[in-house]
Amino acid sequence: MVEINLSIDTNLVRKILTGFIRSEITRIGYSRAVVNLSGGIDSAVSLFLAAESLGPQNVLAIRLPYKSSSADSLEHAQQLIDQLGCPSVTIPITKMVDPLIGREAGMTDIRKGNIMARARMIVAYDQSEAFKGLVVGTSNKTEILLGYTTLFGDSACAINPIGDLFKTQLRPLAKALGVPETILTKPPSADLWVGQTDEGELGFTYKEVDKLLYLLVDQRYRPEECIEIGFEEKFVHGVVERIRRNQFKRIMPPVAKLSRRTVGYDFLYLRDWGT
């Protein structure tokens, strides 16, 4: 059987990611961060890393419940805030989103979920300005690759420390950072509607898909090779197609080229230009 090594040395990863947050925030003259906290493992990791990088007093945790959000999510987020002793704010989004959702009868869950995710983005960026902190992202590599995210919603951020870690790699890191066991073991959920779970919606487990993504993306296995070594054909083709179809969520919108020098094609500078 092919070796699929998704293990990480949590000390090494922690050192790199806290250094990254500190460097990318302080080099442009900031010293603070804001994190949208869902009560799940991904935002917990981003929050803990940011607190370790900048000091907990410099990280604002934002709770953004909707009326149907699970009480557990809100409670788990509060546990993390209490554990770190970081400043926090709770801004329910129900009154922001319900007027839009209520304009049409029978709006789909996908539309409602996207509206909520984008409302939370608006709050994060508003608090970013108020708190003078950069928005630290909470998207992991699995959801970025699968496109399991709302464009300009939960995917929006200033920097993302965890976007190169698969979902299953976040658990050991979260544990090392001191995220409580209840949060480590509960089923991952976007909590956009009652009873939603990531794995239920996606139709496969993170454990399965992370192994496949590791082979396809990190190790450059061809889809046929993944099938040969035992992954189900339908699953492999479904994931490959998902990756392809969601590329638009991973890049800036293409600019139609007219001039000799165009942003995105031949006007090339890092964001850290001059710092």
Binding site: N5, D9, L12, V13, K15, I16, L270, D272, G274
Partner: protein, 284 residues
Amino acid sequence: MKLNLALAQINTKLGDIESNLEKHLALTKQAWQDGMDLLVFPELSLTGYVLQDLVPSVACSPEAEDPVFHHLLDASRDIDLVIGFVDEDTRHRFYIASAYLSRGEIVHIHHKVYLPTYGLFDEGRFFASGDAVHAFDTRYGRVGMLICEDFWHASPPYLLWQDGADLFLLSSASPGRGLNGESKLETSAWVEHINQAYASLFTTFIAHANRTGFEDGLIFGGGSTVFDPNGNLVVQAPYFEEALTKAEIDLNQLHRTRASLPLLRDERPELLQHELERILHGRN
């Protein structure tokens, strides 16, 4: 003969030469005060690494009249220096370059030969590639310089060895990558492995200055090393942190190692040449 060698494992500001120059001069002064003879800076130490369209605006000409090199040459009166910079030649081609400065003079310039343009790298898009690998004489013996991808290939170190270099000064700005559960990144382990191998195979000193810090999401891993002609680690800088890492190396070790392990004496470059002629040109 003892050589007090220091590796300037620094972070840089992307495209901000003035600030980077200031750091070079401060560290040079410190190394000199600490009794160092030679100080090696990493690849593109004056400019930062992912320059992209900044390349033309950060290029220098390594000459006394250049406002940047003027200061560095001045600083090299006390201590020999290896500097990483963008060299613009008279025909306005841009190279990733290392300069060896000593006693106010430019002793040698190396242009990076192998420009990685794969994976996360895009050097071939922005730079011209060098076309020479030459050793050169210094007051500490014959030396060779290579830059990052140059020594991921086996042939440039081999050429320097045959050209007489007993001390290799390697510089890099290597974005660290690769998790496998071990306590260091895969790229750090790899480069330590090959540098130790060069020291062992060529019975020579290998000093490597890598940079640190971040540029966007890329981390430069540090972990600069010096290996001796027996392949033993003399000193290693920390990972991920800036450091001025010092080593006293005993150049007489070359005598002792090569007296017992005459790999250089027994090497047959003419055999290599003959076989390469056959391989490349079908000649027997």
